[in-house]
Amino acid sequence: MRPLITVLAIGALLTAAGCATDEPTAVASTGASPQAGAGTGEQSKFFVQAQYDKELALLGATPAGPAGKPWEQVLDPKMVETAKFKKPGPYKICFSNAGLNNPWRQVGFKTMQAEVETHGSRIKEFVHVDAEGKDQKQIADINDLLGKGCDALIVSPNTTATLTPAVEAACRQGLPVVVFDRGVDSTCPVTFINPIGGYGFGHVAAEFITSRMKPGGKVLALRILPGVDVLETRWSAAKVAFDKAGADVVGVEFTDGDPAKTKKIVNDYIQRYGTIDGVWMDAGAVAVAAVEAFVDAGRPVPPINGEDQLDFLRQWKERKLTAVAPTYPTYQWRTPVLAALRILNGEPVSSPWKLPQPTITQDNLDEYIDADMPPLHYAVCGCRELPGYPERWR
């Protein structure tokens, strides 16, 4: 009996270990060496120079479109004709959503629902299907929606390659498809909407940190997990900036988005190196934990970047941090609804539709802090004038 129990035990434990973490904590595929003196090791295999150059150029570009409404603006517009999709309203608009499994998507989806409301009777029905972060479910969802008489289909794909055939199948049905956030490997959607992107994010944060610390200062880079394209591009752009500035990147650690783990890691680095001169992060979720690690250790918080989540922005203001918050704005959830309506009205839209990607700095910090909103709210939501603000987002 004992050996059987033992075998079962091992099996169960390994299974438990497997499901305990939603994301693979797997190996550091980018090979970033933690002890790099000059340079941060090999560049990520996700790095594409041309794309990097393009995004950095867009950071300085002036958007076309109405001032103060970045969700309607376009960087470097390339208009396409949509006359063939013109039809009389009101419309039934369908949305296949990759998931609602993080605060960013929660805020975004609420913003999208509010945007739909602003159009009143022009949209007779808005159908939302949540794929719960599963490719297979989203493929089935899109397939189901094709039989539901949608006038336009909005897709936020869970993963790029796997969802491409499903999106192409939708295009073949002749209905206009609008893709946003993550893309697909196909030109069949009428347009693809997203902000500047990961290189822009990583670059802005790294440039800020290197500009605020002494040359050759010690930088700790905290990443969520390896192998995800949007996060890899952020890190690869930061790498370029750190190498150029001759920063001493003393560590590149994966936090799994776990604040407790983040705090322990930062704590260990503070002990190991005495001082850390800058902290770079590929996403803001654990920025507050990193700040707390310095505060709880009784050390000054070095230049750091977060994202536009309110908990970080409040810490920044309260503790007078030297900080910056590049964003991946949630207002991009408004744009697909606008785009779908324009397409159904036969108006030309830009394809791709590159949205501006604002950066929160010391100068505009106060504009984004809203005392009424919960800590995990994303400030750059473009939602303040939308119906139901602020209750809907709480």
Partner: protein
């Protein structure tokens, strides 16, 4: 009946004394020496205290897991229980200081309740505890996901967070004494007292040989259920400490059940039950945390942690299998 029970207890293979603790103490000492070589100021009182403070949750969980494992069962639900409790606490407190204490009480009660369900399903319905607690793990993950729409809401009050984050400053000798260390001490004392009480002894007997224990008048079902309740309570305490240490997160309890079980077997407690001490289990947890800190200081990628944990479990099982063959 009385005599039989006494004899049974007298012939237990290991007293929860010092004998079984030598290997884990040696291992801990070796790791601490290696750590000090790399990081001489690690043993400074203030840094040692902060290390103990941040390790407190896993040590508390190991103590809870000890009672279950020594009784011959497993509790795989503690990790998701911790996550559930942190997320629930944040939503209920919603940054409102006055709700702190009621929520603390609620967490302890719900932790015990989850343990009670695990215990009753395992003992009364005779479902293997792997399946019971794996099921509970999945139920809790799903319930939290559903209840929170997949993303945590609300926030923890500073009053709630101080248990895991704040400290008494300027304490003689140690400098800074984290509240978490005090909580840990209290849990450790309670755990040792329980382990030495009649309950602790009957629990070990029930794990070592349930049939003999049953025949000797031990209410096996009862003590095993209590063990699950203790594990649930430990998870609640750990949730309060973790939520305090790092705030609300969906990752709060990820993988903790695995860490706790590894710690327990590392501390010399036999998988399958009947052998080991709660002090060993807690030292096992401390050793595991020391090992991870050491790996971090030596620049070993954090991804290796899981592999190391797996290796420890396999090794422990192999050793314990050999021992039981010899017996």
């Amino acid at each position: 009946m009385r005599i039989a029970e006494r004899r049974l207890l007298a012939t237990r293979p290991h007293r929860p004394g010092t004998g079984g603790l030598v290997p884990i103490l040696v291992l801990l000492a070796v790791l601490l020496v290696l750590l000090t070589v790399r990081q001489p100021d690690f043993l400074a009182p203030s840094s040692l205290m902060s290390f103990l403070g941040r390790s407190a949750p896993i040590i508390v969980l190991a103590a809870g897991q000890y009672f279950v494992i020594v009784a011959g069962e497993f509790d795989l639900s503690v990790g998701s229980l911790v996550t559930a409790q942190v997320v629930v606490a944040a939503r209920l407190i919603d940054s409102e200081p006055s709700r702190t204490w009621p929520v603390v009480v609620l967490l302890l009660a719900s932790g015990a309740a989850v343990g009670l369900v695990n215990g009753l399903v395992t003992t009364r319905l005779r479902v293997s505890s792997f399946i019971t607690t794996l099921g509970m793990y999945l139920i809790l993950v799903g319930a939290v996901y559903l209840w929170s729409d997949g993303a945590p809401k609300g926030g923890l009050s500073e009053e709630f967070r101080r248990f895991g984050r704040r400290a008494f400053e300027d304490v003689v000798l140690v400098g800074r004494l984290p509240f978490a260390v005090l909580v840990l001490l209290a849990v450790a004392v309670l755990a040792v007292l329980l382990n030495r009480s009649d309950f602790g002894r009957t629990l070990v007997a029930a794990g070592g040989n349930p049939r003999t224990a049953e025949l000797s008048g031990v209410r096996v079902h009862h003590v095993k259920t209590m063990a699950f309740v203790l594990s649930g309570l430990a998870a609640a305490v750990a949730a309060i400490l973790i939520g305090g240490y790092s705030g609300v997160s969906f990752q709060a309890g990820a993988g903790l059940e695995f860490g706790a079980i590894t710690a327990v077997v590392l501390g010399g407690v036999a998988l399958g039950g009947g052998r080991g001490s709660v002090v060993g289990a807690m030292l096992g947890a401390l050793t595991l945390e020391t090992l991870f800190t050491l790996m971090n200081f030596y620049g070993v990628p954090g991804a290796l942690r899981t592999a190391v944990q797996g290796a420890i479990i396999l090794l422990a099982v192999a050793v314990s299998a050999r021992r039981s063959v010899r017996r």
